[in-house]
């Protein structure tokens, strides 16, 4: 059953359930922030429209820094702005930011504790036809390892909007990523969102399914299918990878005794990595990981790719069954 305390979208499982691009939540959130805070600056590297930062550009051109296709400099400029009191949002594709400018993120931003917000758009294999070069499947691994950095993967348009607001309220560096395609709207305006606090979206006792990003939808569909087979899954929205909410995961696996991680990212270093580290340190239980199995992507439609690389609801359900079987 969907957890009623979270006010999730009640029509989520309908065939015509609303689907919106997560990046629209970023564009919307930026304009809302710009309306109330004159310290908000937005930077991009020739990707204003793609990242939806162009809404901010239209309204506040004087606080929009178009850096050109020069991501290393862009991250440094953002650091400089923040060290002089501004709150800059760096907007680009996740393959370039932090892919192209990781050293600048490490030193100019994280080591300096600069108040920079880094938004990685077009993340995951779901970017589809552009192919492997543009599918950011490693960004969570290379950000999660950086001290001082908060790492967040919102699950839908509304949560991305909330995340954009939440990172602006924190003083310190944050990275969050979102996708291009329209994805099911899982949360509503009333759904709580707190950085560092996982949400229990579906309660159960047999297996924990911990997901982040839009694949949370597939995890919920899997939970519903498993329910029909008499298997009660518990689905967590682990939107914050760092700081990771160990206690919610631990309470869940103490009840269920096994876990499945779900993410649109390599199965190493991202959410699966964070969960493996957490379980290993606190509550060792069997873990199955859903995500990209140490492989580059390729061109294709989103659904085709998610199917080929085993990230659909049926793959999650099968992984849940494997995890249950492995319980001692």
């Amino acid at each position: 059953m969907l957890n009623s305390e979270l006010y999730l979208n009640p029509q989520i499982f309908d065939t015509n359930a609303e689907r919106l691009p997560t990046r629209d939540g970023y564009g919307k959130g930026l304009v809302e922030l710009g309306d109330t805070n004159s310290n908000i600056f937005v930077l991009t590297g020739d990707l204003a429209e793609s990242t939806r930062a162009h809404h901010f550009l239209k309204k506040y051109p004087e606080r929009f820094v178009e850096c050109g296709v020069a991501e290393q400099n862009m991250m440094g400029v953002a650091a400089g702005l923040s060290l002089a009191g501004k709150i800059p949002f760096v907007s680009s594709y996740a393959v370039f930011v932090p892919g192209r400018n990781w050293d600048q993120l490490r030193v100019s931003v994280c080591y300096s504790k600069s108040n920079v917000k880094v938004a990685g758009a077009h993340a995951g294999i779901s970017v589809g036809p552009d192919g492997a070069t543009h599918q950011a499947l490693e960004d969570l691994a290379i950000t999660r390892v950086l001290p001082n950095l908060i790492v967040i993967v919102p699950c839908d348009m509304e949560e991305t909007r909330k995340c954009t607001h939440a990172v602006a309220e924190i003083v310190g560096p944050c990275y969050f990523r979102f996708e291009r395609d329209k994805t099911p709207v899982i949360t509503t305006i009333k759904t709580p969102f707190k950085i560092g606090k996982a949400n229990i979206c579906w309660e159960g006792t047999h297996v924990t399914i911990a997901a982040c990003g839009p694949l949370l939808y597939e995890a919920l569909v899997a939970a519903r299918e498993l329910d029909a087979e008499g298997i009660n899954a518990e689905v967590l929205n682990c939107h914050t990878l760092k700081p990771f909410d160990h206690s919610t995961l631990e309470s869940s696996v103490q009840k269920t005794g096994c876990c499945v991680s779900v993410e649109d990212h390599q199965i190493t270093g991202g959410l699966g990595g964070a969960i493996a580290e957490s379980l290993g340190a606190h509550t060792p239980v069997p873990l199955e990981r859903i995500g990209m199995p140490d492989h580059f992507g390729e061109s294709g439609q989103t659904e085709e790719l998610l199917t080929k690389y085993g990230m659909k609801a049926k793959d999650i359900a099968n992984a849940a069954k494997r995890a249950i079987k492995r319980k001692v």
Partner: protein, 297 residues
């Protein structure tokens, strides 16, 4: 124009800073000698005459921002800060030691006590951050905020870079962006000492002509003798007066300046003196100090 008395004072200070560099590097047993000694005159001019920041105003919102990009030459930064009264001279001997504020590459963790705005080290990162600070001084990306009803704090941003670090592509991205915004609130001192770790800059990856390059990128360029404090101060004044262009002050310096066996030798880029070498260096610097004094008497 500086008075001849003031100029002499500054030259003596620069010489003291060089001695402090040697002493701190000796205590640290590692670190970068050549660039630190070479930039002592520029640092003296910047922290004593040019930048609008003093120990009393180090936390002021409208203080000038100084960004050290080639932070491996931080011994000269620390020695200058000590002489200028930002930190006790005794602390210089903690350079690179566990628990010190004087990290092997300077960082901004001790603001505002130590007026170090950024973390440096990996080359090529300072200029971009200086650009961010210069844009922030405007309050927006427009050319003017003079018409604005809100009075914003205004400061000038001074960035120091090495010449070897211009190999880094990030600099050229930054150079284009600063020109785009006509960032006249930004001035960059380039330490043109012609050496980097592996050898001479023109052998490693030729940089010349830097003047032609920067002019082509729509920057204002001034060349100075990096050991002539009067020239350095004059160039900074010119940079402040220039409108609609950021300025490069190309400082021609001698790496290892003041210590004969270090001068112009790239082997001293990343090396510190041992006790015997330090003794010779200090003796030489003290003698040179005497020569400078006599010249102006």
């Amino acid at each position: 124009m500086l008075t001849s008395k003031r100029l002499r004072e500054l030259e003596v200070i620069a010489n003291t800073i060089r001695q402090d560099i040697i002493t701190s590097l000796l205590a640290a047993k590692s670190g970068h000698s050549a660039g630190s000694l070479g930039m002592a005159d520029v640092f003296t001019a910047l922290y004593y005459e040019i930048a609008h920041i003093t120990p009393e105003t180090r936390a002021a919102e409208d203080r000038d921002r100084i960004v050290l990009s080639n932070a491996h030459i931080c011994p000269v930064l620390y020695a200058t800060l000590a002489n200028r009264g930002y930190l006790p001279r005794e602390e210089l001997k903690t350079l690179r030691k566990l628990g010190t504020r004087l990290q092997g590459h300077s960082n901004n963790h001790f603001r505002p006590d130590l007026p170090i705005e950024t973390c440096g080290g990996p080359l090529g990162q300072g200029l971009s951050q200086a650009i961010g600070m210069a844009i922030a001084a405007r309050g927006n990306i427009q050319q003017n905020n003079a018409d604005s009803e809100i009075k914003l704090p205004v400061w000038h941003t001074w960035c120091l870079t090495g010449d070897g670090e211009l190999d880094e592509g990030q600099n050229w991205e930054a150079i284009m962006l600063a020109a785009k915004f006509q960032l006249h609130e930004l001035t960059v001192f380039i330490d043109r000492n012609n050496i980097q770790i592996d050898g001479f800059t023109e052998d490693i990856l030729p940089l010349d002509s830097l003047r032609a390059k920067f002019e082509a990128f729509n920057w204002h360029v001034i060349e100075v003798d990096g050991h002539n404090i009067q020239e350095i101060v004059d160039a900074a004044n010119e940079a402040r007066a220039i409108y609609e262009r950021p300025t490069i002050i190309l400082c021609h310096t001698i790496p290892g300046k003041g210590v004969d066996f270090m001068e112009n030798r790239f082997e001293w880029h990343g090396k510190s003196p041992n006790a015997k070498e330090a003794k010779i260096a200090l003796m030489e610097l003290r003698t040179l100090g005497g020569q400078i004094t006599s010249e102006h008497e």
